[in-house]
């Protein structure tokens, strides 16, 4: 359990480091070293030099969704494979056969998705 404590301390130190680095210019701005001359043009959203049209938080293309769904399904399977990979020597042939059946089922679904065109980027 000692090791996980070190990871926790690392998280705290890393957060502290990131925060101090970000707040350093803020302190310098209060001291007047870092300039702060804002204008309406400077604070507008960048759009190749033209004035900004419309908003950018809009509905986005649907094709990203297929990949997200496929990823969730397959990633759950991959996480299941980790304990099997660690204990392969003890599980032996039985474990191998079970995982093989699982992978064949997955392969069927994968080939189906391929032929249905879910893997195309259109």
């Amino acid at each position: 359990m000692h090791d996980f404590g070190y990871v926790g301390i690392l998280l705290v130190v890393a957060l502290f480091f990131a925060l101090t680095t970000l707040l350093l210019p803020v302190t310098l701005r209060i001291l007047g070293i870092v300039p702060r001359r804002s204008s309406a043009a400077k604070n507008s959203t960048y759009e190749c030099g033209m004035s900004t049209i419309g908003k950018s938080w809009v509905q986005y293309n649907f094709r990203y969704y297929f990949f997200a769904v496929l990823f969730v399904v397959l990633d759950v399977l991959v996480v299941l494979l980790f304990p099997w990979a660690v204990g392969l020597r003890e599980l032996g042939l039985t474990g191998l056969v079970v995982v093989f059946v699982l992978l064949v089922m997955l392969a069927v679904a994968y080939v189906y998705a391929w032929f249905k065109g879910a893997l195309e980027w259109k």
């Binding site: 070190y6 990871v7 870092v34 959203t45 960048y46 950018s56 990949f67 980790f82």
Partner: protein, 370 residues
Amino acid sequence: MMTLLEEFRAWLSAALPEWAAYLIAGIVGIFVVLGFVLTLVIVFIWYERRLLGRFQIRLGPNRLGPEGIFQPIATALKILIKEDVVPEKADRVVHWLAPIVVFVPVLMVFAVIPLSQGAILADLNVGVLYLVAVGSVSAVGIYMAGWGSNNKYALIAAMRTVAQIVSYELPVVLSLLGVVLMVGSLSMTKTVEAQVVPFIVMQPLGFLIFFLGALAEMNRCPFDLLEADSEIVAGYHTEYSGMKFAMFYLGEYGHALAYACIITTLFLGGWRGPVLPPFLWFLIKVVAVFSLIVWLRATLPRLRVDQLMAFAWKGLFPMALINIFVVAVEMLWLVDISRWLVVATNIVLAVVLILAWSRLFVLGRGRVEV
């Protein structure tokens, strides 16, 4: 075997109460690791600029200090006194949090990297799983940056990043499973100890898949679509300036360093090597991997989005699945006969699979229709 940090803690606890020894040992260890990371990141920024200069037949930064080594320091000072612009329409909280969410996980990765024999911060028994878990948090930060900026280019880049990292996560994790199968443990120290023959020789296909997937995960060329400056300005950090931009920049190089360390540990035998001291071997291998990454950046053009997705889902993913199954079969029956039989089989497997799959991907014919 005890790590150096545990020995230090045991030595401290002779004089101090248990909790104080633990805390002091932890903080000293963390500062050593952070010192290593930040020094190497700064050196790498300079090194990449010099190396890219050589690749493009020019000099690169060479004015400040010997061979221009102080150039990153000048850049840091310049960035420190830059004005910080937050666009009016941005989501201010998300805009400020994004650099932290990108940067902190990169530092967290180094907790389980053995820098030398016994020099590891936390020898977790779930080390490889920890790498997978922590390594992909940065994608959330990049998405936050794109969303929080309220900029069209930034949002396109963020969407691309999520699609790309999600797609390459699977081949990367599957090729890691090949390593776990050979070691029989998730601990990083045990992984290094198991590599009498480095795993790049034992399973060349697994190494190739992991290397290409890692390139995509750290958003380097030829997979750097999220900051394709010819299409979407500067990508997700279009609206960032000053120190917040520097955090993204550091995070990117930190990511490259982290993956170079991971590849060294998992596939190149970590600190193992003859004659030279272990830490020097580790450093040599890390710099070699990073040089390879820079070389690829200098040589290869950027992929298109459809090519990128097809390469992950139709190329790397099925190859990785076949690879782990073959490795599993080998570990059950072949490895007890001879280790070199496994090496021979895997080299043949890599050649056959790459030749078979290369027929699907033909360059120069426009869209990849696989």
